[in-house]
């Protein structure tokens, strides 16, 4: 992977608030990199610094090894699609897409040609004369995408471009974005707070929390091997059970729980010195609910609190002997499906290697 774009230790402070800190990331040419995190985690700040709307307090941004910080926004030759609708309201769709070419003083015939191709790319052929106010939100964001790509920028920034759209339309345009990424080979930096969107679109994901990047990796990597409690909680469903560390050997811990149960051989993340408390993370789909304790792997007794039919599965809320709640999903065809009642005493079983433990901060 050639480091095409290098975000080098960016720090941004507003007054007393540290919006981002020690943000360090390299992106390869043509990669689809997503900044994922809750609002206020610094992902948008980092994007704005890339766009040149804000200057970092510290750090540098390099493209092909050269700093771009001294280049003003309009000379960075970067494309961007915004969260809000940003089409120029007084210009037609065609003139909106032509705008970047007009400011570059391109010839009319070349402009006409490029605009037609850009609109074809976003599947809005022939709508050159439509006014933006007469279009749906989804169409407007497609036009914005065409406008951001018409001048072939090497880097495209996308700041939650689909957050104002409803679910069905969002999934449809996600597919379009994936296709356009493959067709154009542009390097995309995409900001979102929606983990499913991140998983659908990205080559790699940088998980932001409280101004820092907690972990960078592909979706399956982050899901299977979260390095922090935050990443484990933010990506995918997960249940956390509170216990205490008994012993640690080769990075694997034995955890003792409130009812005296001992779970051994759990991969442990975090600094062991900081305390004895730890949380055991389980993925609901890796947990099996059964009447008896599993023979292999780990197991804990639980009591059923509530069941909710959710169409393709039934969510069963259970509680451990010491009172921690968790939810198990019974898929269609599970032997217990439809046979669970409130108050039942059952067991949750899981393969030892599918659990992880995190030191409590």
């Amino acid at each position: 992977m050639t480091p095409y774009l290098h975000i080098n230790g960016i720090r941004k402070v507003y007054g007393n608030v540290v919006a981002s800190d020690h943000v360090e990331l390299t992106v390869a040419k043509g990669e689809f990199m997503t900044f994922l995190g809750p609002s206020g985690s610094g992902k948008s700040t980092t994007l704005y610094i890339l766009a040149g709307f804000q200057d970092p307090t510290k750090g540098d941004i390099l493209i092909e090894g050269k700093s771009i910080l001294s280049t003003p926004s309009h000379k960075r030759n970067i494309g961007m699609v915004f969260q809000r609708y940003t089409l120029f309201p007084h210009l037609s769709v065609g003139e909106n897409v032509a705008f970047p070419l007009r400011v570059r003083r391109m010839g009319q015939s070349e402009i006409t040609d490029k605009v037609r191709r850009a609109l074809a790319l976003v599947r809005l052929e022939g709508l050159e004369d439509r006014m933006p106010t007469h279009m749906s939100g989804g169409q407007q964001q497609r036009v914005a995408l065409a406008r951001a790509l018409v001048y072939d920028p090497p880097v495209l920034l996308m700041d939650e471009p689909l957050s104002a759209l409803d679910k069905k339309l969002r999934e449809e345009i996600q597919l379009e974005i994936r296709r356009i990424h493959q067709e154009t080979g542009v390097t995309i930096l995409y900001v979102t707070h929606d983990q499913e969107e991140a998983l659908r679109l990205s080559d790699r994901i940088a998980v932001f929390n409280a101004g820092r990047i907690e972990q960078v990796g592909t979706g399956p990597e982050l899901y299977a091997n979260p390095q922090t409690h935050f990443v484990a909680d933010f990506i995918g469903d997960s249940a956390f059970l509170k216990g205490e560390i008994e012993t640690v050997q080769n990075g694997q811990a034995s955890l003792r729980f409130g009812d005296g149960s001992l779970i051994v051989g759990v991969p442990l993340h975090g600094d062991v010195k900081s305390g004895k408390g730890a949380e055991l993370m389980l993925r609901p789909e890796r947990i099996d609910l059964s009447a008896v304790a599993g023979e292999q792997g780990a197991s804990l007794p639980v009591q059923v609190q509530d069941m909710t039919f959710l169409g393709n599965n039934t969510a069963v809320s259970v509680r451990t002997a010491w009172g921690d709640p968790l939810t198990v999903r019974l898929g269609f065809g599970h032997p217990l499906s439809g046979r669970v009642s409130r108050g039942d005493h059952l067991h949750i079983n899981w393969a030892a290697e599918s659990a992880q433990a995190f030191i409590q901060g």
């Binding site: 766009a51 040149g52 709307f53 003003p72 926004s73 309009h74 000379k75 960075r76 030759n77 970067i78 494309g79 961007m80 915004f82 969260q83 809000r84 609708y85 940003t86 089409l87 120029f88 309201p89 007084h90 705008f99 970047p100 400011v103 570059r104 106010t133 914005a144 406008r147 951001a148 001048y151």
Partner: protein
């Protein structure tokens, strides 16, 4: 959905009363004056014995009325242009600037709206006495600009505030320099606000009378001042004709402004 007209009940009577009072005290007298301007009686007998355009002929024949109307129009147009330009700059700084004291500055720009106009007139009169600007076109323009500018600033600031800065940022990332983005994107997007500000500024100057009386000289006076002074001497139907023209232009411009606003919301 709780209150349609059939269910208005007591509101209905209150509304009827207010409408009646407003019609009685505002609309009828003005319609009455407009009617008198077409009536044949020099002594303003109502209803007029017959209809005539004589008073308009007399009005347009009298060079003093024409001069006053031209003076009003000239001052109004100059005030309009300056008010929109200065209002645009002030609004950009007030809406987009992030400097300290912005709230104070905004309050300062709006003070002419709240000060009693007679005091503003006295104050400007005293200053212009010293500067020798009473009775000059410049004096008129400055006086009317002071009262028109706050309205221009409010209108243009409103348009700028409802314009999403992200659109300007998008233009900049598209490769336009900040100035190019403002001229090619921001200005066209707020043009309705600029037009409204222009119409308001012109009307404020066109209709203003207190400042104008203080600024006026025998050789330089606006139409409202001429109406005022003529009235003081002699109640002639020519004044009614002049009033009708003042009202007509005002109403036409306000309708234009309303249509503009409607066109924008579409």
């Amino acid at each position: 959905m709780l209150l349609d007209f059939d269910k208005l009940g007591a509101w209905r009577w209150a509304l009827g009363l207010i409408c009646g009072l407003m019609t009685l005290f505002l609309l009828l007298p003005i319609l009455f004056i407009i009617a008198l301007s077409f009536g044949s009686s020099r002594w303003l007998i109502f209803p007029p014995p017959s209809w005539t355009l004589n008073w308009y002929v007399e009005l347009f024949a009298d060079p003093r009325w024409l001069t006053a109307a031209l003076t009003s129009a000239k001052i109004g147009l100059i005030v309009m242009v300056l008010s929109v330009i200065l209002g645009l700059f002030a609004s950009l700084a007030l809406v987009r600037g992030t400097f300290k004291g912005r709230a104070v500055l905004r309050a300062f720009f709006l003070t002419p709206m709240i000060l009693p106009v007679v005091i503003v007139a006295v104050a400007l009169y005293a200053l212009f006495l010293r500067l020798g600007m009473n009775g000059t076109l410049t004096g008129f323009v400055i006086a009317h600009l002071v009262v028109a500018l706050p309205f221009a600033i409010i209108t243009i600031s409103g348009a700028l505030e409802s314009f999403d800065t992200a659109i300007e940022e998008a233009a900049i990332l598209c490769g336009a320099s900040p100035w190019e983005a403002r001229f090619r994107v921001t200005l066209p997007a707020i043009k309705h606000g600029l037009f409204s500000a222009a119409i308001f500024s012109f009307l404020i100057s066109w209709d203003e009378v207190v400042l104008a009386i203080f600024m006026a000289s025998p050789t330089l006076q606006t139409l409202p001042v001429k109406v005022w002074t003529t009235l003081r001497q002699d109640l002639t139907p020519v004044v009614a004709a002049a009033s009708t023209i003042l009202v007509l232009l005002t109403v036409l411009l306000m309708i234009a402004a309303a249509l503009l606003r409607k066109g924008k919301s579409k």
